[in-house]
C-alpha cells in the first residue's frame, strides 16, 4: 500500500490571510480518502492548493512520487492530478460535448479523447442525451455530472472532489456517491471534501477531520462514523 498524495506541513491562504496552518495528510492509492469539517474550515483552500490554483507558502506536496508544489496547475493535470471544483465551474456557453473536450486538452489525454468520451457517456447517459446543449442550460445535478465527466476526460490518476453533492437533490447526490466506488475500481484514487458527513464516512476508506486549517483527527471512515465527538460536532450543522 502506497500513498499517491502526501501533504506535508502545508501553509496557504489568500494574499496576507493565512487559512491553512501546517496541514498534514496522506491519501492511499486507489482508495477514497475524505476530508470533513465545517464550513470555512479550509477544505476548498486545501483542494485549490493541491491543484495549484493557490501557492503553498510553506511545506510540500508530493504526488505519485514527485514533488509537485512548484508546478503550475496545468502541469499537475498532466501528471494525472485533477480537481472537480466546488461550484462545478463548467463552461456555461460551451456545449456539453465541448465542455468534455476541454477536459482532455492535456497532452497525455488528448489523443484518447474519443474513446474516453464514450466511457463518460456510458457512465452518465444524461450527458449523452444533452451533448449538443449549452452547459449553462443544464440542471445543477447535470452540471455536476458534467464537471465530473470533464475531470475524467483528463485521464486522472487521482480526482480531487470538492463538495460534489452541494446543493443537489438527494436522489442525484446518491447517484454521485454511487459513481465513486466504480471510479476507484478503475484504479482512480479519490480525495473527497464533503459536508454530507454520514455518506462520506460510509464511503471513505480513511478520513481526516479539519478545523481552522489544521487536521485535528484522522482514522478509518468506520471508526470516525461511530465516534460521538464527530457525530455531535458535525452532523448537526452538516446541512447548514
Amino acid at each position: 500500500m502506497s500513498d499517491i498524495l502526501s501533504v506535508h506541513k502545508v501553509e496557504s491562504g489568500y494574499g496576507e490571510v493565512g487559512v491553512l496552518h501546517g496541514m498534514d495528510l496522506q491519501c492511499r492509492t486507489s482508495k477514497v480518502t475524505a476530508l470533513v469539517g465545517s464550513n470555512g474550515a479550509g477544505k476548498s483552500t486545501l483542494m485549490r492548493t493541491i491543484a495549484g490554483l493557490l501557492p503553498n507558502t510553506k511545506g510540500s506536496i508530493h504526488f505519485d512520487g514527485e514533488v509537485i508544489d512548484k508546478l503550475p496547475s496545468h502541469a499537475r493535470v498532466e501528471k494525472g492530478l485533477i480537481m472537480v471544483p466546488e461550484g462545478r465551474l463548467v463552461f456555461s456557453d460551451l456545449t456539453v460535448a465541448d465542455n468534455l473536450r476541454t477536459g482532455s486538452v492535456n497532452v497525455r489525454a488528448r489523443e484518447h479523447w474519443q474513446s474516453t468520451i464514450t466511457e463518460v457517456y456510458d457512465l452518465f447517459p444524461r450527458l449523452y442525451e444533452r451533448q449538443r446543449q449549452l452547459a449553462g442550460s443544464l440542471s445543477g445535478g447535470e452540471q455536476q455530472m458534467l464537471a465530473l465527466g470533464r475531470g475524467l476526460m483528463g485521464l486522472p490518476k487521482m480526482l480531487l472532489l470538492d463538495e460534489p453533492t452541494l446543493g443537489l437533490a438527494p436522489a442525484i447526490a446518491k447517484q454521485i456517491f454511487k459513481v465513486m466506488p466504480a471510479l476507484v475500481e478503475r484504479g482512480i484514487s479519490i480525495f473527497l471534501a464533503e459536508q454530507d458527513l454520514y455518506r462520506t464516512l460510509e464511503i471513505a476508506d480513511y478520513a481526516f477531520v479539519v478545523e481552522n486549517g489544521k487536521i485535528i483527527m484522522h482514522d478509518t471512515g468506520k471508526v470516525l462514523k461511530n465516534d460521538p465527538k464527530i457525530t455531535n460536532a458535525y452532523l448537526g450543522d452538516s446541512k447548514s
Partner: protein
C-alpha cells in the same frame, strides 16, 4: 424602396461589415483571453496598412500576396510587446480590474509611441496607392477589384477563425479561457501559452485588416483611432469576449452605417451609430449577443 434593395448597397454593406468584423476580432481575442483593453488596436491596423503600402510601393508586392508577411510583422510586434510589458501585468497584477485599468494606460502609451514613430519615419501626411482598382460590373453592381478582394479575404479569415475556435484543441482552449480562467486552469489548459497565442493572433489579424483597408482608403499615422472606436463599439455590441457575437455585430454595424447614410445623410452617420450603441446598451447591458455572466 428600390434603393434599399439595390445590390450595390448590399455589396457596400457586406464589404464594410466584414471589415468591421475583422477590425474588431483581434481586439475581442485579446480582451477575452486576457482582459487587456487594447486602445492601441487601431494603431496596429495602421501599422498593417503602412506595411502593405511600403511593400507595394517599394517592390510592387500586392498586399493580398503579402498578407502572411504583414500578419507576421504585426504578430512579431505583438510578441515583443507581450514579453516587454504585458506578461508582467498578467502574472503579477491582481485583481483583474487592475489589469484592465493598467492595460488601458499602457496601451495608450503604446498608441502614442507607435503613431509618433511612424509619423517621424514616414511623415504625417496621408498616402495612398492604386492597386486592383479596375471596375467590374456584376449583377448590376459596379465594384472595384480591391473591394472584392477585401471582402473575400475578410470572409475567409473570419470563417477560418470560427472553425479554428470550434475544432482545434488550441481554439477550444481559447474559448474556454475566455469564459473562465480558473476553470481553464483546472482542466489543464496552459493559460500563459494560450494567452501568448491569442495576443499574437489578435495582432496579426489587426495587421491583415489594416492591409485590406489600405487598398481602398488613404492611410496616415493617425488613421487608427476611429478604428479603435469602431472595434470597441462592435465588441461591446456583440458581448465582450463573445467572438461569434462580435463578428455578427461587426456585420450589423456595417449594414446600419451604409443604410443610415443612404436613408438620411452622411451627417447623421455618427449620431445614429452611437445612438444605436447607447440604446442597445441601455436595453441589454451585456450586448446584443452577450449572455449574462456570473463573474
Amino acid at each position: 424602396m428600390d434603393l434599399l434593395l439595390s445590390p450595390q448597397l448590399l455589396f457596400s454593406a457586406l464589404v464594410l461589415g466584414s471589415t468591421y468584423a475583422l477590425v474588431a476580432l483581434g481586439l475581442n481575442l485579446v480582451y477575452g483571453t486576457m482582459r487587456l483593453l487594447n486602445i492601441a488596436h487601431g494603431d496596429l491596423i495602421m501599422v498593417g496598412a503602412y506595411a502593405a503600402f511600403w511593400f507595394f510601393t517599394l517592390s510592387g508586392l500586392s498586399p493580398i500576396i503579402g498578407l502572411p508577411l504583414i500578419a507576421l510583422i504585426c504578430a512579431g510586434l505583438g510578441l515583443i510587446l507581450y514579453f516587454a510589458i504585458f506578461r508582467h501585468q498578467l502574472e503579477n497584477v491582481h485583481p483583474v480590474e487592475r489589469i484592465e485599468a493598467n492595460s488601458l494606460l499602457l496601451f495608450f502609451a503604446v498608441s502614442v509611441i507607435v503613431q509618433n514613430v511612424v509619423a517621424l519615419s514616414f511623415s504625417g501626411s496621408p498616402r495612398a496607392y492604386r492597386h486592383l482598382d479596375e471596375v467590374y460590373h456584376l449583377l448590376g453592381v459596379s465594384m472595384t477589384a480591391n473591394r472584392i478582394a477585401a471582402l473575400v479575404v475578410a470572409v475567409t479569415l473570419l470563417s477560418a477563425v470560427v472553425l479554428f475556435l470550434n475544432r482545434s484543441h488550441y481554439g477550444l482552449s481559447i474559448s474556454a479561457l475566455i469564459q473562465n480562467k480558473t476553470a481553464a486552469k483546472i482542466v489543464g489548459i496552459n493559460v500563459s501559452k494560450i494567452q501568448i497565442l491569442s495576443f499574437t493572433i489578435g495582432f496579426a489579424i489587426a495587421g491583415v485588416a489594416g492591409a485590406l483597408i489600405s487598398m481602398t482608403e488613404q492611410i496616415s499615422p493617425f488613421m487608427g483611432f476611429p478604428f479603435t472606436i469602431v472595434a470597441f463599439v462592435v465588441i461591446i455590441l456583440g458581448g465582450l469576449g463573445n467572438i461569434k457575437g462580435g463578428i455578427a455585430a461587426g456585420l450589423l454595424l456595417g449594414f446600419v452605417e451604409i443604410y443610415v447614410v443612404v436613408l438620411t445623410s452622411a451627417n447623421f452617420r455618427s449620431i445614429l451609430i452611437y445612438g444605436l450603441f447607447v440604446g442597445v446598451l441601455l436595453l441589454r447591458p451585456q450586448g446584443l449577443f452577450g449572455k449574462t455572466r456570473a463573474s
